[in-house]
C-alpha cells in the first residue's frame, strides 16, 4: 500500500507514491536521482547519508521517506548556488579535505549545520561535531582544516 509524500528537495517540490518502508536516502537517490548522498552502512553509524531536514542534520538511512513528508530537505547537490561553491565545499577543496570522496557529502552537510550553530568553532568542537561521520581516508586533519577555512570565510 503506497503512500503519497511531498518533500521539498533543494527547493524543488517532489511528489511521489512510495512504499512506506522506503528510506529517505532511497527516496533521494532513487526517486529524485540525487546520488550525491551516499549509503555506507545502513545502520546510522557512518554518516555518509547525512542531509539537512528542515535545517537539522539527519542520517537519511535512519528516516523513512514518509516521515519526511512535508519537510524541506537539503542535500549536497543543493549547496552551491549559481555555480558558486558553498564555503564549506570550498574549504574541502582548498584544504584537501577529501580523498575518495565517499564520506564527503555527509561530512560537508554536517559541517554546514555546525557552522550555523557555531560560527567560529575550535578544532575540538569541530572534532566533536563530525564525530558521527566516519572517514577512512583522511585521518580527519584536513577535514578540520576545511571546516576552519569555511568558518573564517563565512565570517569575512
Amino acid at each position: 500500500m503506497n503512500t503519497r509524500v511531498k518533500i521539498r528537495v533543494n527547493g524543488a517540490l517532489r511528489e511521489s507514491e512510495v512504499e512506506p518502508r522506503l528510506l529517505l536516502v532511497q527516496f533521494l537517490r532513487e526517486v529524485c536521482g540525487l546520488t550525491g548522498t551516499h549509503v555506507g552502512c545502513e545502520t546510522g553509524v557512518c554518516g555518509a547519508c547525512t542531509v539537512l531536514v528542515d535545517g537539522q542534520a539527519v542520517k537519511s538511512c535512519t528516516m523513512l521517506a514518509v516521515q519526511a513528508d512535508g519537510s524541506e530537505v537539503t542535500t549536497v547537490e543543493g549547496l552551491s548556488h549559481n555555480g558558486e561553491l558553498h564555503p564549506v565545499q570550498e574549504g574541502f577543496w582548498e584544504c584537501h579535505g577529501l580523498q575518495c570522496g565517499f564520506c564527503t557529502p555527509g561530512m560537508i552537510i554536517t559541517i554546514v549545520q555546525l557552522l550555523k550553530r557555531n560560527g567560529s568553532p575550535s578544532r575540538d568542537e569541530i572534532r566533536h561535531a563530525i564525530d558521527g561521520n566516519l572517514c577512512r581516508c583522511t585521518g580527519y586533519c584536513h577535514i578540520i582544516d576545511a571546516a576552519e577555512y569555511a568558518a573564517k570565510k563565512a565570517r569575512v
Binding site: L85, P105, C137, Y140
Partner: protein
Amino acid sequence: MKRVEDPRLIKGIATYVDDLKLPGVLHAEFVRSPHAHANILSINTGAAKELPGVVGVFTGADLNDKVAAIPCASPLPGGKTVSHTVLAGARAYFVGHPVAVVVAETRAIARDALDLVEVDYEPLPAVIDPEKALEEGSPLTHPELGTNVAFTWNLHSGDAEAAFKEADKTLKIRMVHPRLTPMALEPRGCAASWHPGESALTLWTSTQIPHLVRTLLPGMIHIPENKLRVVAPEVGGGFGSKLNLYPEEAVVSHLAIRINRPIKWIESRRENASSTIHGRDQVTDHEIAVRKDGTLLAIRTKLIADVGSYWQLLTPGIPPLTGLMHCGCYKLKTVHVDITGVHTNKMSTDAYRGAGRPEAAYLIERIMDLIAGELALDPVQVRLKNMPEPTEFPFTTATGLNYDSGNYQAALKKAQELADWPKLLEERDAARKAGRLFGIGISTYAEICALGPSKIMAAGGWEWGCVRMEISGKVTVITGATPHGQGQETSFAQIAADRLGVPIEDVVVFRGDTATAHFGRDTYGSRATALGGSAIVMSIDKIVEKAKTLAAALLESPPNEIEFKDGKFFVKGVAQKALGWGQLASEAYVAKNLPPGSEPGLEASSFFEPPNCTFPFGTHIAAVEVDRDTGQVKFLKYVAVDDCGKQVNPLLVEGQVQGGIAQSIGAALMEKTVYDENGQLLTGEFMDYAIPRAVDIPDFVLGSTETPSPSNPLGVKGVGEAGTIGSTPAVANAVVDALSPLGIRHLDIPFTPERVWRAIREKGGRP
C-alpha cells in the same frame, strides 16, 4: 596545488557504481551462510522464484560448472587449498560464504526474496584458533585436504647457531597481530551489461584493479579478453580490499550475459565485514640474539598466519612479505623465519594497507624497544647502532632485499627536533614523578613500495602510460594505474604540465577504464606515482623528441640544434622565433610539412619496467598518557617524518600520511576483527568494529626528508602505506613505555581501554 578531481566529489555529482543509471537494470542479492562450517543438504528456491518481480534464483548447482573458480595469483610451492567456486557447493566454510544469488526487478524485492530461499544446513565443527588448528585431532577447515596447513614458507639467512652463541643476551617474545577489517567507506559493488550485438560485456566495478580483472575474468566466464571492458568508476576507498577479483563480480557478469539484462549488485556493510578480505592476523614467536652494546645479531621467528578458509588473489603472498621485511631498517646479518599459513573457517586474509609490512615493522620496532629495555639502553641509541649509514646504500638486507637509497639517521634526527625531544623526556620524567603513566614511543621504519619488477611479480610489475598532444594543443594523459582517492588525476596532470610546459588546465587524465587505458597493472603497493608516473615521463620524453624533429623541419635547422624550454621549441640562441605545442600539434596531425620518414600524430605510450622496488622510510614519535583508572590512551603529541623520495604534490603526500597514521592508530588502539568460538563474526558492522572517529585522532606534526629513489626517473618512492606501517609500532612503544613503571614489558595491540585496564590491574597499578 588543489586536486582536479575534487569539484565533482564536493558537489555530489561524481559517479560511484551505485550511482550508475542503467536502463532495465536488475538487482542481485546473495544468500550467505550463517554458519562458519556446514554441509548444505538442500536448497529450496521455489518460494523465492514465485515472488513477483524475481527474475531468477541460482545456486552453486546452477553456476559452478559455468563460472570458473576464484583465481589466486600468488600460490606457494607445496601449498594446498580448495578450488573456491563462486557459490558454495556441498559445504559452506565461513560466515558470509555466498550460497545462492537472487536477481529481481528491484533491490527491495531481491532482499525480500533472500528470506524465501530455504537452505538446509548441517553444522560442522568450525576451526577458529590457528594454533589449535595445527594440533593433532583438530577439526579440519577442509576435510579433503587432510590438514589445516595451507602452506609453509621459510627463509634462513645467516648462521643462527653461531649468532646465538656469540650473543651476550638472548630474548624471547611472542606477539599477536590481530585480524583487521579494511572497511573502505564505500562497500564493494558492481554492475554488468551485455551487448548482444557485439557479444561484449561491460563490467563497472568498485575495484583497484580493472586491468587485472580484465586479465582474469574472461577465462572464468568464457568470453574473449577483448570482448570485456572493465571500468572502475569513482571508487570510494580500497586499502587493498578492492585489490581482488571476487565471486560476486564473476556471478554478476555471468548472469548479465545469461539473462541478457544489466545487473547491479551493491554490497551491504554487513557483507563487507564478512565477505571482503581481512588483513594481518599473525602470531609470532621470536628469539633474539643481541650483544650487550645493543647490536642486534639475529632474529629467529616462527610465524603462524591465519589465512582464513580460501585463497583470494594474494592470500599466500602476504605473510612472506612480513618475512622479507624482518630487518626493517637494520643491519642484522641473520634472519630465520618459518611461516605456517593455516586455514580456518573465516574470511580470507589478503593485502590490507601495508600488507605484511605493518606486521614486520611492528615486530622489529617492538624488538628494538625490548632490547633497549632489557639492556637498559636508550631506544634511540639502539636504533642508531643498528642502522646502515647513508653511504652504505644500496644496502642488501639479511633477507636479500636491495634497499635503493636511504638516510635513516636524518629522518630520525628531524623527528626528534620536531618533537622537541629533550623537553619531551623531561616532561615524561616530571609526569612519572607525579605518578602519571606517560610514555614516549619511537619507530624508525623502512618499507617496500612501487611493486615492482616483473621478475618478482605474478603477472607483470610494470606500468603503462600514454600521452597525447591533441590537434588543438590540449594534452590527454592516460594511465594504467587506477587511483581510487589518492589524487593521481592531479599529480599526473602536474607531471605532464611541468614537463611539457603547458598550463595544468590543458591536461586531462583518464584512468580506470580498460577501453581507454589499454594496459595497466593498477594501484596497490604504493606503486602508482613511482611506476605510473614514470611511464608518463617516458611518453612525454618520446613526444618531445618527435616534436623536436618536426620543429627542426619547420625551422629549417638540424634536430640537434633545437632546444625545448617552457613549452617552446626554438633553434639554439634564437628563442624569439619559437614554435609552441599548438603549432606543432596542428602540423603533426595536418601532416603536410612532416620531415621525410616521420609519421603523423603526436602521441606516445610506454611501459615502465622498474629495475627494483623502492624503500621509503621514516621516523614516527608518539607521546601518550594512559589513564590508570580507565585504561584510556590519550595522545599528547604525534610527530612523523616520512621520506618518500621526491614529492610531486606535498599536500597529497601529507593527506596520505595523515590517513595512514589514522588507520594505524585504529589498529593500535581499537580495531580487531573477532570471530567467536563457533566462527560467528562479532564485528560485522561499524557498531561492533571500531574505526577511528575524529575525536580519536590528534593533530599531527609532520615533516619530511627527501632521499630520491634511483629506481625511477621521478625519484619518487611512494607514500600510500607509509603512515600505516610506521605508526602502529610508535604508538605501541609509547603505550608500553607508559606502562613500564608497572613492570609491563610487552602488551599486544589493540590497546583498548579494557585490555590496558586489565594489564594495569594485574600489576597492581590500580584500582
